[in-house]
Structure formats: structure tokens, C-alpha cells
Amino acid sequence: MERRNYRTNVWVDWCPGCGNFGILTGIYRALEELSLDPDRTVIVSGIGCSSKIPHFVYANGVHTLHGRAIPFATGIKLANPELTVIVHGGDGDLLGIGAGHFVALGRRNLDIVVILHNNGVYGLTKGQASPTLPLGVKTKSLVEPNIQNAFNPIMLALAAGYTFVARSYAFDTNHLKNIIKEAVLHKGAAFIDVLQPCVTFNDVYTADFYRKSVYKLEDDKAWDPYVRKPEEAQEKMLRAMEKALQQGEKIPIGRFYVNPFVSTFEERISQRLKAYPGLNPSNSVIEVQGEPVVNQKNFEKIFRDFIIETQTL
């Protein structure tokens, strides 16, 4: 089911100038260049402005609950590992209410891409501070400066075990598109932190701000985020963390850490369930013309540990 144009005819209802438009364009272009089948691709999202994105993409879309896109996506991917699964969510969604799931996906290293629409605010509820807005920052929508501190999404992804960790910027769609493509092709949990202005509620982290502060890691020819031998993993991670700590005036974008040597969750499962992922929950037989695959005869064989043959004296 090839398609050159992944637009739906649903009107895109974001504010004019919203960073989400850049991310949507990045997704369209990545899907096009990868020629992903819309029927074999699933875009899963949480709740918030950015999480409306599945409705604008011609591919299967599952618009779920606030913070829960990752576990929905986990069930989808585990049950049908042949699908390409991409999660979208805002910073409040994925890192606030959904932080526990965000960490769990890293531990599993399941082959899912997570795209964080990171704008520092809860847009759809009119601009409250999110977990990525630094302490003391006062955006125009806040009554008082932010009283809670931010945490670093790249550091968290690295600590949680994501094996592809990158950052991009919403209005550098070429850069973003390339990173999305690489994340989709990566085997394992991939995380992309996408810096994104909110034109309506965040007057601090604006497009102007990012234009001045963002720089590309790959411009430094010596920067190599790829773990090329398993024993390099720790050193590469330490370097990735060092880069991740750069915030404020100069913000690096690009690939921080890519490690193809950690087993994916699918591989771990196939160690236990030998036929997996070829045979999986979505394609295995459970009935033949309405009859269960377990019949009277094999029932007694399969569950012999629970059956006692009576022998009266």
C-alpha cells in the first residue's frame, strides 16, 4: 500500500506558526522517503496539541490517553512486531504524567520510535509549566516564575536505556526528517527530543531563541555517537551525557548516542517463545471454524499437572 502523499483531509488546527507544523512536515517527508506502508505503520500519540498528529497523517493512527501513548504502542508492537510504530507526545505528556512509561520503554528496548514535541509548556490547557521548563523562567502564561525545576530528557533517555538518542529542531525539517528516518530504521527504542516553539504561550523559548542557540553536533567532524564495538558503550554514553548537559546559550542537536548492541525486547522474547516474532499474538491461530485449538483430548494432556486420575481402592 504505497503512498507518495501522507496527508489526510483533516484540517490541521494548530496555531499559525506552531512548531508542530515543522514536525508534521518532518514526519511526512520521513514516511515518504522510507516509503512506509500506511497500513503497516501506526502513529500513536497521547493528549495535547501535538498528540493530534495521527489525524493529519495517512497511516494507522491511535490517539490515546494523556501520558499513555507508550504503553498503548507497546501492546501494539508486541502483538504485531511487523508494524512500524511511532509515538508522538508533548513534554507534559511523555515526561510528566507519562514519565514512568517513558523509563519502562528504555528498559525494554522495544523497537519503537518516540518523538518528543518539546515546547516547555502545556499548550492545550493554556500554557502551564512542563517538566522541561527551567526553574525561575516566567513565560507570559505563568502567573509567577516557574517554581519547579526542569529535567533533561536526553539524560533521562540515556539513563533509561534508549539505544538511539537524538535531538532535533522543529523548524529544521531536513535535519529532523533525517533523524526520524534513522530512528525508524534503528532496531530498538529510539528517542528524539524535538525542540519546538509554542508561539502562543512560551515567549521565552521562541523560534528566534532557537535560531541563535541551536548548533549541530555533526558539524564537529570528530563527533561520533555510534557505538561501534560493545566495549565502547560506556565511553560513548559518558560523552553523550557531557553533550546533553550543554543547555542555555548553546544547545546541541543531532545524534547523541546510538548503540546497536543491546538486545531488543523482541529478541529477548524470541529466546522464550521460539517462533516469535514470525508467529505472534496477532497472527497465531486460536480457533478453527469456531472450535478452540484445545479440545477434550489435548486439554487433558496439556493440563495434566492439574488433573488427577481417580483410583478407588
Binding site: M1, V10, D39, V44, K52, H55, Y58, A59, N60, G61, V62, H63, T64, L65, R68, P71, F72, A73, T74, G75, I76, K77, L78, N80, E82, L83, G100, A104, I269, L273, K274, A275, Y276, N280, P281, S282, N283, V285, I286, E287, G290, E291, P292, V293, V294, N295, Q296, F299, E300, I302, F303, D305, F306, I307, I308, E309, T310, Q311, T312, L313
Partner: protein, 614 residues
């Protein structure tokens, strides 16, 4: 318990045992209350007991009043001199109550004085064994590490049972072999332990002889409620089960994991995923369901509470998913290892907004087997979440159960789309829109928790809202038509009764046995076992209740509120004011139901609150 139960089952006896334990791992008082019958599978537990086998002094303090006249007590010689103060794990409130009772009886709060009292007043037989000496003898022979002593204590318990019941060695060996599988040496050690106990108990062999078995089943299942539900899920074709560890549900998932892939039998692959919380449990099960896998999750009250937003999403998106809900004592952490039926309304009404769901309950192990499969069928046929409402009593009761009849089982998956040109996931052409799975070739669909159009895109248009909202709810009428009456309400006992008991879930067999006892006294009674709790089967209820005035109806429930009465009134207008309830977390016993009935019949009480059991 597993050994003695299996040995008895091997010889054709019926067996039922409930496990009572604290929310801790080691040190507090756990006990097993069991019943053996030769003429039928036991339906209920009751007091007093004919035999009390105590592993420690605390057991004597906690249970001495449970012992029947001319009953038997087996205990450790080393316990005899213990006093109540020397059992530190007894809770202070309990200790004070026992002390008060001892004072009333003129006892000095020592095991010795209690046993003397039982011997004199109840003509009980006391058998004190030197547990440590018995075990040392075994350990010397096999050179077992003395630190393992506590592991072998239960061997004394089943051996004492076996001696008093005069069970033969073959059946014991059979049970031990089933339990320890290929670990032949452990079987031998236990057989030796049994022989030592035989020697020590000599003259008591067969003192508590059972009548010859008359049940005549060639094979019997020997399962807990958790076991039978897991087994049913395998038969139903579950392919994804998620869970977060919680008592008393987790054992089901652990068992499912053992059966997750049997290639030769077409079982699996079944993915059993321990998630990071119950929110992920329900939402990942929903995700798996969207791909066409039969999906379920298993939990208890606190976990279900966390699942409610996911439940509402499943309702909004018409997703088939099964939630197996084992009730325990709430609110909050409540009594995490004790039983309850107090979550009826939580299962039926939890979730914001209005949407169709099915809530099923099961009265016993075999019902739970068939209902588990029904739950998956209804979920897929009608694209609704189904809650299978069970409880700790069932989950942790080990019972002999007839083998289910597999030839009666059908797997129905509802309307499925394998290809479509212009697919509409939420087509308004019928109340149940044919379902395509994520991944179906040539088909693209959208899901959203927002109100949506036929394609699954967000739409807030008022006319569309009416059409979609109504469609989701009106499926309830189809469900009512589809489910046969006997699967909605089980009717037992006399057609024209003097009294009618009403209940649901695990009280069923206790009430049925009570009805038999009452019949012996010339009282005709009937029992309505409400199996489909939602949508409520009001037509069937009204028909079944036709000949009985409401003041002759009695609700039986493990709760404070006898809540099924409120549900009945809401749906039928019939107001039942009389109830027998229990909310100590311990199961209702036969004796309590009969005594409760007597209090109600005599007009002394309208609501009887039962409290027996340690």
C-alpha cells in the same frame, strides 16, 4: 494441603480448601481451612472442625474454639508449655480477646490448659508429637541441612492427616510425585517422614476414618480459582496478558507464562508482560487487542482503580478487552490478602462518560472456566470491555472440580474485515461496526479517545455526537438478547419456595448447601445466582422472582452494603431489605448462612452480620 488434597482426590474424595494468610511473607499466622467429602465435591466450608493440626502454639490459641466435640488435635510437644504471651505475632487486639475468653472459661492462657479444657469439655483427642525429634531423625538419615527444618514441618502435617484418615501409601506417593515432579529424593524423604509419623502416632491410624468414596468420577481437576481462570484463558485463545503484581491476581499470570508457547498444540505465542503499573497493563492490552490478539489483564481492586481511564478509552473506541478482577478487602489497601465482594459498583460504574460494558461473575471454579471463555467471546462479538468479577475466596480456594466439557465451547470473534476499499472503523451502518485489525493489508483506520466520526477522526458536531454516543450504548440491548437466560441468572432449589436467596459470585455453593440443609427442616428455598451483573438481566430476574414476595428474599454477600440488592432495586424496582453479610475478609460458612437465616426467619434481624473465623 496440596499433598493431602491430591492424595484424597486420587482415592476419589471431594476436597475444598481455603487459604487464609496475612499480608506478610513469614511469621504471621496462616492457616488452611478444608473440608473432605465422600459423597460429593464439597460446596462450602464450615465449622466446627473435626481435626486441627497445629504447626505452632499460635494455631492452638487462634483456633481452639473451632474444634468439634470428639474432635482431634495434633500439635507439637514443644508448644504445650507455651503461653499466650509467648506468641508475639498475635495482634494485641486478638490477644486481648483470647485472654478474655480464656478467663471466661477459667483457663490460664497456656496451650496446656486449653488442651486440657478441650479434652475434658469436648472429649477431644490430643496427639502431641515431638516435631523436632521427628525431623531430626529424617535429617540424620538423609544428611539434610538443619536450617531447612521449617520446610519439612508441613510434612508432619500431611502425615498426621494421612494417619488419622488411614490414607494408603500409594496415594500419598502419587500426590508427592505430582507435587515434586522429578525430584524423586524429596518424595522418598517425605515418605520416610510419613513412616516416622505413623510409628509415633501408632494407635491413631484410621481414628478419623472417612466413608468409602461415592463420587465416581474417573478424573478430577485439582485447581485453585487462579489456575482454572488461566487454563480457561489458554482455551479461549488469549494471546496477550499484561499484569502488575497484586494479590490475589498475580498467580494467574504466572501460570499463564508457563503455558505461553506449546508449539505442537498450537498454544501461543502468548505474551505475558509484567508492566510498570496497572495503567500500562490495561493500555498495552488494549493496544494488543487493536492488532487482533485476544487480550486481557488481571488485577484486584487497587489495580482496577488505576485502569479506569483505560477502561473508558476502550469503551469509547469499542475495543474488546477482558479484565479479570479478583476482589479483595478494601477500601485502599484494606485487607490485601482477604476476600471481599464489595467492588460490585466499582466494576459496573467505574469510568467517566457512558458506554457499554459487560460485567460477569462466577459462582465456582467450573463456572469461572466457562465464564472466562464467554468473556472473550462477548468482548469480541460486541467490541466492549468485559470485566470478569471474581474474588480472593475463589482465587485461593483449591478444589476438586469436574473436568470441563470442551466440546461445548465455541470461539466467536465477531464481525471481522479482512479487506476493504474505504474502511470506516466506526461505521454507523450497524451498532457493531465490523472490525479490522491494525496491520490488515489495504486498510487504514484511526482511533481516538475524543468523540469521532466514522473514520475515527475527532469531530465535535452535535448530530454526529448523538449518533456515535447512542451507538456505543445501544449495543447493550444486543448483548442482552445474545446471552442465554441461564448464563445471566442461575436458578437453584425449589420452584415455589418459602424463601429466596439472592447473590452472586463465590457465595453460591455455600447458599446451595444451606438450602439443602433447610430442606431437611421442611423449609423450601431457592437461590438466584446472578451471573451477568451488567447489563443487568431485569427480565430474567423479575421472572425468576415472580412467586416470591420481597420480604421473603434474602441477599447474601461478602460486603457491608448487600449491594446487589441496590442494583436489583435500581433495575427492577424490587426492594430487598433482608441480608446476610460478612466483611471480615473470611469466607461465609455454611453454619453462618443457616444461623443467619434463622435470625431473619424468626424476625429478630433484618440484616445479619457474620463474623466467625480467625
Amino acid at each position: 494441603m496440596m499433598i493431602i488434597g491430591r492424595a484424597l482426590a486420587r482415592r476419589g474424595y471431594g476436597f475444598l480448601a481455603n487459604r487464609e494468610y496475612f499480608s506478610n511473607i513469614v511469621g504471621r499466622h496462616s492457616y488452611i481451612h478444608l473440608r473432605v467429602k465422600s459423597d460429593e465435591y464439597p460446596r462450602s466450608l464450615t465449622y466446627p472442625v473435626d481435626l486441627l493440626v497445629a504447626m505452632d502454639a499460635e494455631t492452638i490459641f487462634m483456633h481452639f474454639e473451632d474444634v468439634s466435640n470428639r474432635g482431634f488435635i495434633v500439635c507439637d510437644n514443644a508448644s504445650l508449655h507455651k503461653t499466650l504471651e509467648e506468641a508475639p505475632s498475635i495482634e494485641d487486639i486478638t490477644r486481648e480477646r483470647i485472654k478474655k475468653r480464656c478467663n471466661e472459661l477459667g483457663l490460664d492462657c497456656s496451650v496446656e490448659s486449653i488442651l486440657k479444657y478441650l479434652a475434658e469439655k469436648k472429649k477431644a483427642s490430643l496427639i502431641s508429637l515431638q516435631y523436632e525429634k521427628i525431623i531430626r531423625e529424617l535429617f540424620d538419615k538423609y544428611k539434610i541441612d538443619p536450617r531447612q527444618l521449617s520446610r519439612y514441618l508441613s510434612g508432619i502435617v500431611f502425615s498426621a492427616f494421612a494417619v488419622l484418615l488411614a490414607l494408603d501409601e500409594d496415594s500419598l506417593r502419587y500426590a508427592l510425585s505430582l507435587h515434586f515432579k522429578e525430584r524423586a529424593q524429596i518424595v522418598e524423604q517425605n515418605m520416610d517422614l510419613y513412616r516416622i509419623v505413623v510409628r509415633e502416632m501408632g494407635g491413631y491410624k484410621g481414628a478419623l476414618m472417612l466413608a468409602p468414596p461415592r463420587i465416581n468420577q474417573k478424573k478430577t481437576m485439582f485447581v485453585t480459582g487462579n489456575d482454572i481462570v488461566a487454563i480457561a484463558k489458554i482455551v479461549a485463545g488469549v494471546r496477550y496478558q499484561s499484569y502488575y503484581p497484586i494479590t490475589p491476581a498475580a498467580d494467574e499470570s504466572v501460570l499463564l507464562e508457563r503455558y505461553s508457547f506449546i508449539e505442537d498444540e498450537n498454544i501461543g505465542p502468548l505474551l505475558v508482560l509484567q508492566t510498570e503499573d496497572e495503567i500500562a497493563a490495561i493500555t498495552s492490552a488494549i493496544g494488543a487487542s487493536l492488532t487482533g490478539a485476544r487480550s486481557s489483564t488481571s488485577t484486584s481492586g487497587p489495580g482496577f482503580d488505576l485502569m479506569v481511564e483505560g477502561l473508558s478509552w476502550a469503551g469509547m473506541n469499542e475495543v474488546p478487552v477482558v479484565i479479570t478482577y479478583y476482589q479483595r478487602g478494601g477500601p485502599s489497601t484494606g485487607q490485601p490478602t482477604r476476600g471481599s465482594q464489595s467492588d460490585l459498583f466499582n466494576a459496573i460504574f467505574a469510568g467517566h462518560g457512558e458506554f457499554a460494558r459487560v460485567v460477569l461473575s462466577s459462582g465456582d471454579h467450573l463456572e469461572a472456566f466457562y465464564d472466562t471463555i464467554l468473556a472473550f467471546n462477548l468482548a469480541e462479538e460486541f467490541q466492549v470491555p468485559v470485566i470478569h468479577l471474581l474474588d480472593k475466596f475463589l482465587a485461593n480456594s483449591t478444589a476438586t472440580v469436574s473436568l470441563p466439557r470442551l466440546d461445548e465451547i465455541k470461539i466467536s470473534r465477531g464481525a471481522i474485515v479482512r479487506e476493504a476499499k474505504e474502511y470506516k472503523r466506526f461505521s454507523l451502518a450497524s451498532l457493531v461496526s465490523p472490525r479490522a485489525f491494525l496491520g490488515t493489508r489495504g486498510v487504514v483506520m484511526w482511533y481516538t479517545g475524543d468523540e469521532h466520526d466514522e473514520y475515527g477522526h475527532i469531530v465535535e458536531d452535535p448530530e454526529n455526537r448523538i449518533a456515535m454516543y447512542s451507538k456505543r450504548i445501544e449495543k447493550m440491548s444486543l448483548i442482552k438478547d445474545r446471552v442465554p437466560s441461564e448464563q445471566k441468572i442461575g436458578i437453584y432449589g425449589d420452584r415455589n419456595p418459602d424463601y429466596m436467596f439472592v447473590g452472586w459470585g463465590s457465595v453460591k455453593n455455600t447458599v446451595l448447601e444451606a438450602i439443602d440443609v433447610l430442606r431437611g427442616r421442611g423449609i423450601r428455598a431457592k437461590y438466584l445466582n446472578i451471573k451477568m451483573l451488567w447489563p443487568f438481566p431485569e427480565r430474567e430476574f423479575v421472572e425468576a422472582a415472580e412467586n416470591v414476595p420481597a420480604d421473603r428474599m434474602i441477599v447474601v454477600e461478602h460486603s457491608y452494603g448487600a449491594n446487589i440488592a441496590k442494583l436489583i432495586e435500581m433495575n427492577t424496582g424490587i426492594s430487598i431489605e433482608k441480608s446476610i453479610v460478612k466483611f471480615t475478609g473470611r469466607p461465609l460458612t455454611l453454619k453462618e448462612v443457616i444461623e443467619g437465616f434463622e435470625l431473619i426467619e424468626s424476625g429478630k434481624e433484618k440484616k445479619v452480620v457474620c463474623r466467625y473465623g480467625a
